[in-house]
Amino acid sequence: MAPDASLPLLLGLAWLLPLVSFTIIVLFGPKLGKAGILASYLATGAIICSFLLSITAFGIWHFGGLGARADGDGAHSTTIAATPGDMHAAEDAKQEADAHSDGAHADAAHGGEAHGAEGHAAGGHGAGHSVPTSVPNHYTKDWYSLAEFGPLKMSISYYIDSLTVLMFSMVTLIASLIHFYAFGYMHDELHAIEDHEVVLSNGHHLHRPGRFYRFFQYLSLFCFSMLGLVIAGNILMVFVFWELVGICSYFLIGFYIERRSASNAANKAFIVNRVGDFGMIIGLMALWGSLGTFAFGDIKNAEGKVEHGIFSTVRPAEQIAGPDGVTHEPFSLRVPDGMVKSAAMDKITQEGIESTPDQVEVWRQEKYGYWLLIIAGLGIFCGCVGKSAQFPLHVWLPDAMEGPTPVSALVHSATMVAAGVYLAGRFYPVFTGEVLLIIAYIGAITLFMAATIAITAVDIKRVLAYSTVSQLGYMMLGIGLGGWAAGLFHLVTHAFFKSLLFMCSGSVIHATHTNDMRRMGGLRHKMPWTAYTMLIGVLAIYGAAIPFVIGFSGHYSKDSIIAQSLSFWQLNPRHGAILSGLAIAGSGITAFYMFRMWFMTFAGKPRDHHVYEHVHESPPVMYVPLVVLSVFAVTAGFPWLPFSVPKLLEQARYPGAVATAPLLDKVVFPEEYLSHLDPFHSQAEIMITFVALGGLALAVAFYGLRLLNPDEAKSQFAPIYRVLWNKYYFDELYAAIFIRPVMFFSKMIANFDRWFIDGLIHRLAAGVKKLSLLDDAIDRYFIDGLVNLLAAWTWSLGNSLRSLETGRLRQYVMFIVIGTVALTLLVRWSVAAGG
């Protein structure tokens, strides 16, 4: 079976299986076994099947050599490897750094050697060494057309490339493990439970039946939505499943809906996401209004005619010669005609200039429609910001920890929040330089801020939540700096070790029934599996490694991001200083707070003996997934594996140079392959190693060996501590800017409603009441009077006639006869009168 048929089949099945289980559970949830326990088997079976299917697809992709590009062989690539160099030089010709660029060339040659291992492992094709010059191998097609509005097609389509396959494998793997984990974690829900965190009005705790099956039903729905988001072939479908994962996270955060905090958190997450999605809708409108398509790739329609997708519209493959000789390089970002025209609409309509290709080219030179492209990019990125909790909209994710821990592990660390990064990566070809820079800044701010907040957090899950936010910030930073592969690489590795961390914390919470690290400590004696798997996770996120030899997965991904930032710094000193500074600092802080968490939880002496006594190791069903994940957390980043993540990502990289930022002068984005070369690579590795070691040392000093007293530090840096403790007052800020005004305004409206409109209505009602009283009086005295009068008359008449009714049969006979006689006489007289 040809891969273009088999891959969609496999992945489509993998996508739909969770939907099936969801449907079944929705329909027959409580009836599935005792307390719906079969529902969990069903959901788990479904997700495992889709995992196997995804793995199969992965195998087909890898061993089928489907990653090879049209021009994918080594000879070509090396020759082509030069051209980007020239192009690079051409781009920043205004810069006087010729020597650097030469050096860059030299490095390019040398780096090829230095990374020979990669080169060989990559099967001879030059991914990672150069800018690919052809569209990556992908399969896209319409499955089902929902609707067509003129040029706009709304369809269920798929876009499958190595990124899709990678994401599928990752998501289904983690989801399967977490399903298993949830068996153990959610078993309380199997029977009616008493929720001690909910106090009813009568002072008792809430008693409610278990919701075991419902949890798995939500999980299935989430898996379906997430996979649909990954496999989506057009941005509209992405949006739909985007919202679906949103609603799933809403359900799951609010799983303990009776807890006010949970329901508030759910609402918060949903509303904050709405803000981002609104921007996304703007982006969608910009795209549709100007391009008239939602599809990512080119799709052959029924007539066999190729309909251009967004990518090929924004980055045309052919070389185009402009009117004034300015040529357009293949696959480089180019404002599409649609945007130009729609931007120049007033010129076309009012001044009547017909839009010939030359005219359009002239307009394009005048940057017509460029801002439209920026808006499209920014809008889509807004969605990403909301979904993956970036700087302005990051407030929801920590609160989302109200949900059950498996949910936090799956939804709020591994997959859903990563969806924002995934979308940013998908849309990378469309982002202009300006947008990329904004992304980079957002990411940098986020990662630093979240990391700093995490220092002071004492809730174990919140620590992890903030670390998630900051790691997402890393990814965004990577993508924003042109490190497309780096960002997505970190996405994958982070998914593994962060879910591992969360599940470990879940295991801890499961054992201690508390989130507060201050009441833990020394747990590693009681729960070794959890402790050491978590240690592995911590090391992974810390990026521990023996430099240039081997390291945990986090090491490689974070390293590549930092390297990219360094190469960016080298090209743009000002921006680069800030961005890479923040990134590097962030890595140090990460090391600090992660180890702080681990020490506070597992090391030292138990602070709360009451808790400590009840602690016990979690059942195998919970720690076996931990072991599996820890294996992945260690190995997911190894670059020399034949199917290492970076190689796979390179197979999906869209050709063409990184976008330029014409509006911001002096901002140049380096090609990513440069960052793999020295000096950046080695610099980065050395830097983060030392910075992280510094953070580690601090953590050990504070919490491990207790050389320093954290409380003293607290009091010493009291103001900073307060700021951090209050999370930079973001919630208060939003409360002040948005919530209070809205509340005030709505109160005013409510008062207007209550006092003015209601008063009006009440007056009207009073008037009507008076009127009806009057009417009633009329009715009672006049009309009823008439009727009663009539009745009285009838009564008296009947009374007077009563006497006739003597009850004497014979009198009646006589009456009859008299009547007959009288009638006859009457008739006769009338006849006589008539005749």
């Binding site: 014979r810 006589m814 006869v817 007959t820 006689v821 006489l825």
Partner: protein, 230 residues
Amino acid sequence: MGPINWHTFFFYLYALVACGFAVAVVISTSIVRMALYLIVALGATAGLFFLAGADFVGAMQLMIYVGGTLVLLIFGVMLTAQGPLVSLRTTGGDWIVAMLLAGCLAALLIPAGLTVSSWHTGHPVTTAEKDAQDVQTVLVSTTIAHGVPTAGGLPDADSNGIPDKQPITAAPLGMGLLGARVDKLGDVPEALRPGMSGYLLPFEVISVHLLVVLVGAAYLARSKRRAPNR
């Protein structure tokens, strides 16, 4: 003076008997005698019917009225035949009023009966008409009864126009009750005949009515506890 018209003679005989005994019913005070007189009066009426050529109706009168109804009546009489009840006296006032009413009615009805001149005298039934009638009867009897004409089913017209044999009316009446009006062969246009059901529906209604009356009477007459005599 011409020959005596025996038809007329017998008419007056029966009429006198009927009227006389009817009046006797009114006058009599004993309920049982009233019943007896009534029987005679009704029997005489039956005779009048025979004379008028409605022998089936006459026989019906005898059978149902005299034979059935009056037996019931006397039955009732005897059930309630106790000394004081047999003769309940009526006050004179009632009598006077009743007589006045009777006078009024008589003054209305009898003149009304005498107004139309063509009713004053019957007419000697001519041969043609009798033929027509007899032919009907023959037609009916032949078609119904083996096609054999009934013996003496064909009355002759004697000098006085008295049909010495009663005309056959039973079969035509039966056919009429079944919906076929044999006495008006040519009268009804062909188009209307299929829809013309004669007296079939009333016949059925009467039958059901009789059944209901049977049940109702049985229900009413069943003896309940007697009230203490007042």
